[in-house]
């Protein structure tokens, strides 16, 4: 064997191993341990859809979760609008797979807190996300923000606020933010003619970001949730 070649291989392994060790990052472990306390929950909440071209009122929702990553948001009667693929990207679904490498990216200020920033890179090709960034409070092991890029459904930013259920890592409020495609239906379909300022209205609604907020009012934790709910 060529010594030069051997040396390159050893160096690469050491380099990689340094990052592999990051999978067992203590902060991630702390977060996972907190999340492990919750096997399932049924949460009641109020959902607000804030997309420039959608007018919708607040709606009561129920959120069902079951380990490792089953999640369903159901509106209490009625039509619900949820970010495609984004809702399922909770901390639980990201971390419970254990199929990722965690890369430390330093610290950042967010909402008055100094948060540790970690990037998760999935090791399993079958996962539907490409990369995810987490902003974690090292003191409480609570995740305040994630930014995840999916394979098929674009990128989603999720911010969380905590209250009563902080000790279990369950947020009191969760906000999904995403980029929206411009919305337009031809007048021949909607039969809306003669609107003189249609162009101006259309321009006002272009290229905006959308958010969907769920404010949780109540959690029923570890009482069992049937798989039929998903």
């Amino acid at each position: 064997m060529n010594f030069k070649k051997a040396g390159t291989i050893i160096f690469a392994m050491l380099f990689i191993s340094q990052y592999c060790i990051a999978q067992n990052d203590p902060l991630i472990e702390k977060v996972s341990q907190k999340l492990a306390l919750v096997d399932d929950y049924v949460a009641e909440g109020v959902m607000k859809t804030n997309v420039s071209f959608i007018k919708a009122s607040l709606g009561k929702v129920k959120v069902y979760f079951k380990k490792p990553n089953l999640l369903k948001v159901k509106k209490e009667g009625g039509i619900s609008l949820l970010p495609k693929g984004g809702v399922s990207l909770t901390i639980n679904s990201l971390l419970n797979t254990k199929q990722y490498i965690a890369l430390p990216m330093g610290v950042q200020q967010f909402n008055g807190k100094t948060l540790t920033v970690l990037k998760l890179v999935p090791t399993d090709e079958k996962l539907d996300w490409v990369i995810s960034t987490l902003w974690i409070d090292p003191a409480t092991a609570l995740v305040y923000k994630t930014f995840t890029t999916t394979k098929d459904n674009g990128s989603y930013e999720i911010t969380m606020e905590y209250g009563t259920y902080a000790n279990l890592g369950l947020p009191s409020k969760i906000i999904f933010a995403f980029n929206t495609k411009d919305y337009k239906l031809p007048n021949g379909i909607t039969l809306e003619f003669g609107d003189d300022d249609a162009a101006a209205k259309q321009n006002a609604l272009r290229n905006k970001k959308g958010t969907i907020e769920i404010t949780y009012t109540n959690y029923i934790i570890n009482k069992g949730v049937s798989n039929s709910m998903f």
Partner: protein
């Protein structure tokens, strides 16, 4: 005047031609409902193509409330033509038949006759609208079920909660009655001028088509007259299905975005009704009955 109204209503509902409109509306609605029941998913998917890329829509989108809205959009453009069939025949049809001289030599003034006939024609119009409402709304609700109303307009989407929909349809149908009564009164006016029915029926339909084109064309030259055309206001029943939002972009339940627009339209349509019927009365009073 009650005797005139019951006299006219008896004739209207004994005449086979009257039921053409009822049959046509029923056939149209049932065919569209059947089509949407069988293949509504592709239609809904087409409507939501811009939304489905970023949002998943869960629930019964193609429910009875949306079907009714689609039906009203289509039918309330064409039902005026069916209304014209009866309204434009009310006086000229009698002249053509030769019965007008029989009626005008009874102990009622011509004003009483004209108003009585108009009221009878209006009752027919309202009954037709109720029939449309029954089939478009209640039959759709029965066939397709109910859920929130997910309205996809040209530039934005309105999501109205299930419990907030029905009263809007009541308002929309009341508004639509004013729109159709305007057509009734126009047909009536045309009918008072001619001595046969073809002219007034074609004239009423032509006027509606002509003014509708002026109302929908976005040409600055016509923007001066547009606010005064009844066709500009006829489709404002849709305003019942647009809601206000607060500063947080949350839709306000039970609200209407532009209630002033509805009020203005009702005033304009009412003014047209009064104008057309008033003109019909004057013309009929002055003319010599030679038929």
């Amino acid at each position: 005047m009650r005797s005139i109204i019951s006299f006219e209503l008896y004739k209207i509902f004994r005449r086979p031609r009257t039921y053409i409109a009822f049959g046509a509306i029923a056939a149209l609605i049932i065919v569209i409902q059947f089509g949407l029941k069988v293949d509504g998913k592709s239609y809904a998917d087409f409507l939501m193509k811009d939304i489905k890329d970023t949002l998943s829509v869960d629930g019964n989108v193609l429910n009875g409330y949306l079907i009714c809205y689609i039906l009203l959009q289509l039918l309330l453009v064409h039902v005026p033509l069916l209304v014209a069939l009866i309204a434009a025949d009310m006086i000229s049809g009698e002249a053509n038949l030769g019965t007008l001289r029989l009626l005008f030599s009874t102990p009622f003034t011509r004003t009483q006759w004209v108003l009585g006939k108009f009221i009878a024609a209006s009752i027919y119009t309202i009954v037709l609208l109720i029939w449309l409402a029954f089939l478009a709304l209640f039959l759709s609700m029965w066939v397709f079920g109910t859920d929130d109303l997910f309205l996809m307009k040209s530039n934005y989407v309105v999501l109205i909660e299930k419990g907030d929909v029905l009263w809007r349809y009541v308002g929309a149908f009341v508004f639509a009655s004013f729109a159709l009564l305007t057509v009734t009164s126009l047909g009536f006016l045309m009918s008072s001028i001619a001595n046969n029915s073809i002219g007034p029926i074609v004239g009423t339909m032509s006027a509606i088509v002509f003014f509708t084109i002026l109302s929908t064309l976005n040409i600055p030259l016509f923007s001066v007259i547009k606010p005064y055309l009844f066709t500009t206001h006829m489709n404002n029943w849709k305003e019942f299905f647009d809601i206000q939002v607060n500063d947080n972009n949350e839709a306000i339940k039970g609200s209407i975005l532009n209630i002033a627009k509805i009020k203005t339209s009702l005033i304009v349509l009412s003014a047209h009704i009064v104008l057309f019927v008033g003109a019909a009365v004057l013309i009929t009073k002055k003319k010599d009955i030679l038929s």
